[in-house]
């Protein structure tokens, strides 16, 4: 039995609404342009193949962000493995892939942008994903929890820790008050 397929007009409308924001979110999550565009395209391709009836109406954005986030987190895990193995590999295997390092990339058009990008890059991947899903995609806590398949309490903690880390790096510690409950927990 054949699935119903998207009409080109309907999918184009959906695509154009999702792609720019998704790329922006993934660029920040992954820290490089090329991979963000590839990942966004892959997520939207999967949505296209599913057909219009497979994702509830109005849920396409959530579905696409969920798929894209999973792909991105998987890619980040791979990158971490590559980074750890790099000292033991011959140079041609350990060099970053195209676009992996983006030292002169367009994201770094300003000092602040570079600082923010570096600070984001130092966050654990899940904290970064939670923060960007909140600030970039504007998802609610419960939606983020569902998307990351994590308990709500974990999302709250991840968001807070991510903000605290960025505050320390970008804004300064501010109050100077010891955040007794905010120290990184193991």
């Amino acid at each position: 039995m054949n699935r119903p397929s998207w009409s080109d007009e309907a999918f184009t409308l959906l695509f154009n609404g999702l792609y720019p924001g998704l790329c922006r979110y993934l660029e920040r999550l992954l820290g490089r342009d090329g991979a963000a565009q590839e990942t966004a395209q892959e997520a939207l391709l999967r949505l296209h193949r599913l057909g219009p009836g497979e994702v509830a109406a109005g849920e396409e954005r959530f579905w696409t962000y969920r798929v894209a986030t999973r792909l991105a987190l998987k890619e980040l895990r791979r990158a971490e493995v590559r980074r750890r193995l790099a000292p033991f590999l011959p140079p041609f295997l350990s060099e970053p892939r195209e676009g992996e390092a983006d030292p002169g990339g367009r994201l770094e058009r300003s000092e602040l942008a570079r600082s923010l990008r570096q600070a984001l890059g130092r966050l654990p991947a899940r904290q970064r994903a939670a923060l960007l899903l909140r600030e970039d995609a504007g998802l609610s806590y419960s939606a983020i929890a569902a998307l990351l398949e994590a308990p709500l309490s974990r999302v709250k903690t991840d968001l807070f820790r991510a903000r605290r880390a960025l505050r320390s790096e970008l804004v300064g510690s501010g109050s100077g008050r010891d955040d007794r409950s905010t120290r990184a927990r193991p």
Binding site: A40, L45, L116, L159, R177
Partner: protein, 169 residues
Amino acid sequence: MDPHDPESLSLYLDGELDPAGRARVEEHLASCAPCRATLEAFTKVRELLRDEGGLAAPADELAQRRALREILRSRAPEPLWRRPVVLPAPGFAALVAALLVAFGTVVFDRLPPGRKLLQERRAEETPAREEAPALASSGSSAGPWDPASFDGGGRMEVFVATHPLAGGS
């Protein structure tokens, strides 16, 4: 919830507190300068993240159009049973030959045993006939005979003759 807990400030910033919790945090903020500074810093981080001019790259419209075109042109992968199988000509010939050999072997194995053995015997008929006179000379019947013979229906007849050992008592 402890209103002095910075985590509650993060929830407050995101509007994730219920009205009672929100009221408690606001009451606390009115009298706690460090918490106000923390909230201000969190707000600043949010502004930095959302600042379009600070970080957002301009949309790559060319890449967007290309991605859309590729998706619209793509087709879902066909199920395995509907995919065409492409074989190079020598490979295909080898495959056909192997199938023929396998088919012939199976057909030969399924022949009735009598026919199969007859076919084998016919192939070896001449040497077998040459050995027969030696046995025939010791038999009671005149003329050559076969110690074993087969009919076409798969039955086998075996003729056994006993001979006294030469020089026995």
